[in-house]
Symmetry: C2
């Protein structure tokens, strides 16, 4: 290895270990004793500060400069060049944030989760509002540090999650979705009686749900020798490295489908992280390239595969065997229709594929308003209700089912939500592509998930951040991001499903 | 706060956060995916190296020197002076170990646990032997670094766990135990039929055991808002800080008492850590003062309290209600006698109070031999069998029940075992003292555990490492460590129990 790069690598290893420690503390906090949080937040704050200092210092700056010359780059591999490129960007971005602020913000975030959780459980937005106010102030301040000329403040925030997807592009994207799919949502809401979903809400014991979710994660290829499932209020995936990928789930005894599709969704994220090349795991290139691409993998598995007839063909009997009395007289076709039934609803994570992007559009518009300063924290619950009324025709009775439902803002993630819609659109584009290069439906019907997973690993997963979203899409499908496939996919699926 | 001390404190905070991260990774590894360990060991190695560098550097050296003068000490509080004293010792000791070695050793330890666990499960000592060999080499090397003139190598190792308890003192201690208690062990082994323990080995479902263990930990005062219980092969206690204290347990369905007494034992460790003063938690003074004192607390709760008639008087009915069919016709007195039955056995953690110190003596003598270089790793299983034959008259059929039973050596802990016997002796001394300052048996009979816990917190727990073992004993009981109470306690208890 190049001597200078090797010096840089040793600095990056330190930074990575510190980041991994923060990741583990964040993972652990879902099971940690409730009373631990104040002290532990200080530890996390200190570790974040150390992480910052391990990455942003004069040695790294010097090595970066020396390596970023023609001479310096000469002997570097593709992976090493990618790490250098990513580090240059991250160095520039992070060095704009004063270390002390970064540390205080990290401790704030560690403190905010239980406050949000309690507020959500108690339907007490007022208890969360002051912390949210603090978090927003930091999020705006940090976005301000990296804001470029011509960019809005929210553009700068968006760039953290999906490079190059500006408000201009997203306004257009959501406008198209709204125009094309809005009438479909409306037409279907007139035909609610067509699909029976009542059997999904019989009693399904948590223990058997856990077992089935373990099975289905394994079925799609999640490797339990290098991964695990735990529980939390809101399912999520995280990783220490490519041999330690973890996701959580939540088991509702009055719902058959909620945990199953969460397991497939998070399992999709997990496959991405388990598929990262050994050569780049534990480096800054060693995780999914963007939030949108990550969501494309989770939603591809959850929806494009997981909510298809073919996916369930080989395994539906197993589900019936697990719940013989509950699923007596429910055919595979009944099941297929029920898990795809569309109905405007309040909870994003429980939304069907068709109404889902409208949940995202609402959050996108609210985040824009927050960053433009046209709404106060106090006004947010009302704005939330107005938007739901406008786009989905439903209004939450309480904030637990309204503005408090998602954990993202408590974690300081603003600009993250749009990735979900971008991810869904990428998933449809990938689905369309896969159907042209392999007998996709046959594989599903025969229960052969491995060739699909291998293809995704080969063209997406293994690269980590060494290729960006657009590069991956172009190299794999031959064209850049194209939301047409998403609109076509949803239109076709739901027109057939509801005989429109 | 003194300006210089404040600078030092900020360095120590960094070191503490890094140490806490290592603690959390070690805790986490009991649940982490099996395949994660190679990568994770690298992370732990890096974090340990960072911890070392945060503590051992020129800034700390300079601040230590400047503060360790009359002028420097002037404005410091008792806690601050204690931290300074401890840091001086730790700095001296650690600065003798080359950082790279410390890092490699930490990664080795992280790797060793699963190797030991698998070897134990498969009765395959040969699989563990090479790792043990490496660990021993490091342990001896590290002891060598801090060995003082006139000290044996093993003395230097012992000093890590129990300051001032040399092989000379321990040889004498074990000699006395052996002389006084050996004949009692022999006499009792002739009267095995006197106590019926068969009901302890009916079937006790793990789920109800878990619930009862949760209850009993809470009963002795373990605070679940600042603590939790998890599972591992071998029960242990660890802490992130005084508001996050965790212990593990292991549930055997053919044993009623194993998990219960592990819970009381680990709960005793937990009370110590939860009782540390808020002012010193998350500092180098913020945990139990020594392994021996720690064991005194766990064994005091487990044995001196937990295996008394009075302890069970108010709660025995609850146990019977939990297992009505298994404990039908078993009186409190039957139960008391069964949980105290003495019989030479193979497993240390399952041993009764009377034979327990002989298990320790065996390990002590083996560790001495290892450090004197008079036994090879290959010869250890035979030496183990010989010693068990000699002192307890029993010989393990396999290494799982022999030399592989304890995890300590896989964690690099040599010199730790004697603390268990020292701790038992301290527990007896404390028990004797408490009986003179409070109506101890009345409190137990009435189920009032709080005054006992408060007394221990006031005189032992809250100080953390700000007082050493001898200081605590002298300040509390008026005399230094005195093993007479231990010999008296065991002699009296077992003479009565077996009508000798």
């Amino acid at each position: 290895m190049n001597e200078k790069f090797s010096q840089l690598k040793s600095q990056l290893d330190r930074a990575y270990a510190l980041e991994a420690a923060c990741t583990l503390f964040n993972w652990d906090q879902y099971n940690a004793p409730k009373g631990s949080i104040e002290n532990t937040a200080k530890i996390i704050g200190t570790l974040s500060g150390e992480h910052y200092r391990a990455l942003i210092n004069d040695d790294v700056r010097r090595l970066l400069e020396e390596l970023s010359t023609d001479e310096g780059l000469k002997d570097l591999s593709f992976h090493e060049r990618s790490i250098l490129k990513l580090l240059n960007k991250q160095f520039h971005k992070l060095s704009l944030i004063p270390p002390k602020e970064y540390e205080v913000f990290s401790a704030l975030i560690a403190r905010a989760y239980p406050v949000w959780e309690t507020a959500k459980n108690n339907n007490d937005y007022a208890a969360f509002a002051p912390v949210l106010d603090e978090i927003i102030a930091y999020a705006k301040k940090f976005a301000g540090y990296s804001q470029k000329p011509g960019q809005t403040l929210y553009d700068a925030a968006l760039d953290d999650y999906e490079e190059g997807f500006t408000t201009q592009i997203l306004d257009h994207f959501f406008e198209r979705l709204s125009t094309s799919l809005g009438p479909l949502v409306k037409a279907i809401s007139q035909k609610q009686d067509l699909i029976d979903t009542s059997f999904l809400h019989k009693t399904y014991p948590a223990a058997t749900q856990k077992d089935f979710c373990h099975f289905i994660a394994q079925y799609i290829g999640f490797d339990f020798n290098r991964g695990m499932i735990s529980e939390s209020e809101h399912p999520f995936t995280t990783q220490i490295h490519n041999h330690d990928v973890r996701f959580t789930n939540h088991y509702y005894e009055n719902s058959l489908d909620s945990a199953i599709f969460s397991a497939i969704h998070e399992g999709g994220h997990g496959l991405y992280e388990q598929g990262i090349d050994d050569d780049i795991t534990m480096t800054i290139a060693g995780s999914g390239t963007s939030m949108g691409m990550h969501e494309s993998q989770s939603r591809f598995y959850e929806n494009n595969l997981g909510r298809s007839r073919e996916f369930w063909t080989p395994i539906y009997d197993k589900l019936v065997d697990t719940y013989p009395s509950q699923l007596k007289n429910v055919s595979l076709e009944d099941f297929y229709r029920a898990i795809n039934a569309s109905r405007p609803s309040l909870i994003r994570t429980e939304a069907d594929e068709l109404t889902y992007p409208f949940h995202i559009m609402i959050r996108y518009e609210i985040e824009k308003a927050i960053f433009e300063g046209t709404v106060t924290v106090k006004q947010l619950p009302d704005l939330w209700r107005e938007k739901y009324k406008e786009y989905l025709g439903v209004v939450p009775d309480n904030d637990t089912e309204g503005i408090l439902q998602d954990m993202h803002w408590s974690g300081g993630s603003f600009g993250y939500f749009p990735s979900y819609a971008i991810g869904s659109a990428i998933a449809a584009q990938i689905y369309h592509h896969l159907a042209t290069v392999m007998p996709l439906k046959t594989y599903l019907t025969e229960g052969r998930l491995a060739p699909i997973r291998e293809y995704l690993k080969e063209h997406i997963h293994r690269f980590g951040k060494c290729k960006n979203t657009q590069e991956i899409l172009k190299d794999m499908t031959g064209e850049p991001f194209n939301p047409d496939y998403y609109i076509q996919y949803l239109t076709q699926k739901y027109t057939e499903l509801y005989n429109l």
